[in-house]
Amino acid sequence: ETHDQILSITPTTPEQVGIVKNISTQYETALWQPVDAQYIQEETQVHLFVPANSSATVKALLQRHNIAHEVLLDNTNHLIEMQTRNDSTDPR
């Protein structure tokens, strides 16, 4: 992957919860939802920011353990560019 991504991950067993907790505390990821690994539970969506250089490893881990996941945002870099672009008028 060449872009940072947001993954939506849904663990369904206690073992999968444990694996997602481990992933979220490694690989320079950032939890969006829930805010901390202690809140991760079965059947609840986890939104995880994954930097491009960790993406392949994280996805391979999820696939190896049959953990359901999808790409929520494919190109966060582009969205950050949009957010920081300044083409507005003066507040007056």
């Binding site: 202690q38 966060t76 950050i80 957010q83 300044n86 083409d87 507040p91």
Partner: protein
Amino acid sequence: STTSFYEQYHSLEDIYYWINRTAQDNPNTIQTILLGSSFEKRPLYALKISLNSENKKALWIDCGIHAREWISPAFCLWFVQYSLAFYKQNQDITDILDNMDVYILPVMNPDGYLYTWTTNRMWRKSRSIHPSSYCVGVDLNRNFDANWCTEGASNDPCSEIYCGAFPESEPESEAVANFLRSKKDTIELYLSIHAYSQMLLFPYSCTLDEAQNHNELLEMAQDASRNIRRYYRNTYKYGAGAQTIYLAPGGSDDWAYNLGIKYSFTFELQDRGRYGFLLPPSHISQACNEALLAVKTIARRVIDKT
């Protein structure tokens, strides 16, 4: 230029400029109040919008307690602009400003906000350093004195939900708490603006117990959610924080409630998770209008009750 100033996100420098400029341009309406300074010694400015008579009851709104939640400061700017532009044009905001002063803190965590613009877009906490750890920052919404650092917070400085060394250990939370303590007899309604997931939350988050006026708060949030649904497709969920999401002790809304501000809410703005903290500028308008509708609904009900 294709978009307005208020449909863009802004750097901390631009927000400070906007605060000064807004106060200068509206000297009879807006006053700048210096609440204190951040860990890195940046000023914490609140704006006071005050029209007509003195000694009114007041509404407090804080934004940007979590650094990466950019829609939150955007809402505070939006609210001020809307108040100035639509007073005497829109009945709701006119009634609110005729009956309440409004205190608005656009960026409660300026150090963190700057850090998200310059270094790490995903940063959430403050930027304080701790002698015993290499990790930086405290979750300011775990740092207030409401069942501080119990289940749902962490005493690990490396955690995203680190509660700090002691309640109000952070200059940002201490400054806000001191100001609210000094105004507790006039502030009737406390609002803290967050992102994301579209929820209207109220005490308690620090315990599963219900607040003394739980049903009243529930009805107000329900009414606000119903009003949002009338105009927008998105529906806001609502409820007590701990029951609706999870236990989260040390939050500002619980603390304000325990201080005596009986109408205390935390709003989680757009979206439901598609964009999260990276909500595109084109969505700012709807996100702010939804939240504005909730503020107006709840503020009018508070005015009717007090």
